[in-house]
């Protein structure tokens, strides 16, 4: 926001009232303060509806979502007696029979309340295979008849395996680091230190790396394509520049979905891009561009190009061409002049454009979903998948949490170096 002219009222001076302060002046200053207070209230009241609406429709949902990443009371709620019985447990070996008995009682309660499945699923997230074992035990408890519950539980080997009880004990803490660690392919091991999950379960670091790689590749591609064009527009005569800028803005104003749709048509095996490559003799055989990394990067580069280009252009426009002429006339070779005079000045624009593109790429969802293959899905696609398909909302929350931290950190850098003003381009 541009600065607003300072108030014509010099408040401190009025408030101090100088040495010859008299009652009149004091009452005037009080009146002004009262009036200012009223103004403030009024402007707060004006802004309040939107702020409240944003808090309700955006702020609270996101806070609640993120809280799921660290707060999961399912097991604690489902196993109150067990968690009590486990409070004195050392954490190694098997707990005493009281814990087994408490578990049996809790399982029965869950069956009665219809929450056994929730518990089984939640435990399964921490302990693969637990789901069917919990349900099995619940069924056996139900049909046990006269058999003592302790015996029933102990007859299921699962409850005597080494990993089971630590997982339960961990689960009874509603505040948990489990999901956040999982989102980084980490977990607590039995002796209380953090370790990497086995390779066949490790997904997310790879997905984060992939997301960063795609974002970096797209950023670089947009810079290579955008910088020269920005330079040309900035130095072209007015009429031509206007036409060129429209060429940049037209795609900018077209929605991501529409442009992704266009690329799905273009990238088909029998689509135009393949036709063109074949006709030019670049390839002998049609390429598989749909559902591929390269197709994804091409489409994302197209979508992001204006975001990189426009900030660069807006800085270039402020650099008078006479500067370069002066550099030439002073004997600077074109490349030297460009590197030493021009580049340092446009650098903030380049930074702004590239950071913006990089940050926006981290959150891509539509384009990878439609153009990428299974191994080109980015972090947002995994978040959506955990919500819709796997129904594991805690995991979705943990991944969102990490994605958001990265995004906000990068924006923090952006705002710090370049100021929020440049965001207006978005």
């Amino acid at each position: 926001m541009t600065a607003i002219p300072p108030s014509e009222l010099d408040r401190p001076a009025l408030a101090r009232g100088r040495s010859a302060a008299d009652a009149d002046l004091r009452s005037v200053s009080a009146a002004i303060r009262r009036a200012e207070f009223g103004d403030r209230l009024r402007s707060l009241a004006l802004a309040a509806p939107l702020l409240v609406l944003l808090a309700l429709s955006f702020g609270i949902p996101i806070v609640l979502l993120l809280s799921r990443a660290v707060y999961d009371p399912t097991i604690a709620n489902a196993l109150p007696q067990t968690s009590q019985a486990l409070s004195g447990w050392s954490g190694s070996g098997l707990p005493d029979d009281a814990a087994f008995l408490a578990l049996a009682a809790d399982l029965k309660d869950n069956q009665a309340k219809g929450t056994a499945y929730e518990l089984a699923k939640s435990l399964n997230a921490r302990l693969p295979g637990a789901r069917s074992q919990v349900l099995k035990t619940v069924r056996q408890l139900e049909g046990a008849g006269d058999r003592p519950p302790l015996e029933v539980v102990k007859s299921v080997p699962f409850w005597s395996q080494p990993g089971t009880w630590p997982a339960i004990a961990n689960g009874t803490h509603a505040v948990t680091s489990f999901y956040l660690l999982s989102a980084l392919d980490l977990r607590w091991n039995a002796d209380g230190s953090i370790e990497r999950v086995p390779p066949e379960q490790a997904i997310f670091l790879q997905v984060f790396m992939r997301t960063f790689f795609v974002a970096a590749a797209v950023t670089l591609a947009t810079l290579l394509l955008g910088f020269p064009l920005a330079y040309l527009i900035a130095s072209a005569p007015k009429g031509l520049a206007a036409i060129l800028i429209v060429a940049v803005l037209l795609p900018f104003w077209t929605s991501i979905l529409v442009r992704t749709a266009a690329w799905t048509v273009l990238l088909q095996k029998f689509g135009l891009v393949n036709d063109l490559l074949l006709w030019l003799g670049v390839v002998d055989d049609r390429l598989d561009l749909m559902y591929s990394r390269i197709g994804l990067i091409i489409a994302m580069t197209h979508i992001q190009l204006p975001f990189t280009l426009l900030p660069i252009y807006s800085v270039m426009r402020t650099i008078p061409p006479s500067q370069m002429k002066a550099a030439y006339s002073l004997g600077g070779r074109p490349f030297t002049a460009f590197r030493r005079i021009y580049l340092p000045q446009v650098f903030p624009g380049v930074m702004a454009g590239c950071l913006l593109t990089f940050i926006l790429c981290l959150g891509y969802y539509i384009t990878p979903a439609l153009i990428g293959g299974a191994s080109d899905q980015l972090i947002s696609n995994f978040i959506a998948n955990y919500v819709n398909v796997e129904l594991n909302w805690e995991m979705a929350a943990a991944l969102s949490f990490i994605l958001l931290v990265f995004t906000l950190a990068l924006f923090g850098i952006f705002a710090r170096i370049l100021g929020l003003d440049r965001l207006k381009l978005v």
């Binding site: 955006f58 040309l232 929605s255 979905l257 529409v258 959150g363």
Partner: protein
């Protein structure tokens, strides 16, 4: 980039290459958005050039079948609802923030802009889980609310930009002449900042009209919008009807945003979006 009066061969080559490169980049920018247009008038049902013939049959599909009609209706309802709320509240907030005495402006502004920063999947998932709990999932109201969050930053920014050119003394003059604040807003301030407000409204409309991620999570079949219908079509049955829908959406967005930018330019020297 123009040549200097006495260009060297090296300079000619460099500038020739620059033009060539930029020409290719322009093609890269424009061809993909222009491709759906001719394809949408294709009479055949494949995406292959040369066209089999010119026809408007795919537009008839989009404008004539119940499925697309209700999608268009939903899109318009949601977009107008969003525009109305986002413009009203966004304008009020921008006016409040333009007052330098507004407490905590430095904190409020980034908060207002945060819907633009947070990856949209997170917004969509968050509102989906929360709205389901309060009974707003699968309702128009829920979608409008979520879209308002996404659209209102544009309104705040454009109106704030137009307010920088507004002389607050005019309001004081109106107050001294005895006008109540509401009256002076409608008779003095609004006419002057109207271009900014309208341009913000256009941005809000387009933001909602083009949005697909939030809708994907929040909408049930009854609230399917045009972008969602397109998204499903793209995944399932790629038919040229999609190119027709894309052309329509693109046309509407471009017209609205051109108008918005002209308005923004007229209202203020520094437009909010674009150069």
């Amino acid at each position: 980039m123009m040549l200097s009066p006495y260009p060297t061969t090296g300079e000619r080559i460099r500038i020739g290459l620059l033009w060539l490169w930029c020409g290719l980049v322009i093609l890269f920018l424009l061809v993909p958005i222009l491709i759906p247009v001719p394809l949408s008038f294709n009479s055949g049902s494949f995406f292959i050039f040369p066209l089999e013939g010119i026809s408007t049959r795919w537009y008839e599909v989009v404008l004539g079948t119940q499925r697309w009609q209700s999608a268009i209706g939903n899109s318009l309802l949601v977009a107008f609802g969003t525009t109305l709320i986002a413009t009203t509240l966004g304008t009020m907030t921008a006016i409040a923030l333009a007052d330098e005495k507004f407490p905590g402006r430095r904190i409020v502004m980034p908060l207002l802009l945060s819907p633009l920063i947070v990856p949209v999947v997170i917004t969509a998932v968050g509102s989906y889980l929360f709205y389901a709990r309060v009974g707003l999932a699968s309702t128009y109201a829920g979608i409008i609310l979520a879209h308002t969050a996404l659209a209102s930053p544009f309104v705040v920014v454009t109106v704030a930009a137009s307010l920088t050119g507004f002389d607050r003394n005019l309001m004081r003059a109106a107050a001294i002449s005895g006008a109540k604040p509401v009256r002076s807003f409608f008779t003095v301030m609004l006419p002057l900042i109207l271009p900014g407000v309208l341009s913000g409204a256009a941005f809000a409309f387009v933001t909602s009209f083009d949005e697909v991620v939030v809708v994907q999570f929040l909408a049930s079949a009854n609230q399917r919008t045009m972008p969602l219908e397109m998204f499903i079509g793209l995944r399932e049955k790629l038919s040229p009807a999609i190119t027709a829908a894309a052309t329509l959406m693109m046309g509407l967005s471009i017209v609205l945003l051109v108008v918005a930018n002209i308005l923004a330019r007229r209202g203020q020297k520094r437009p909010a979006k674009g150069a």
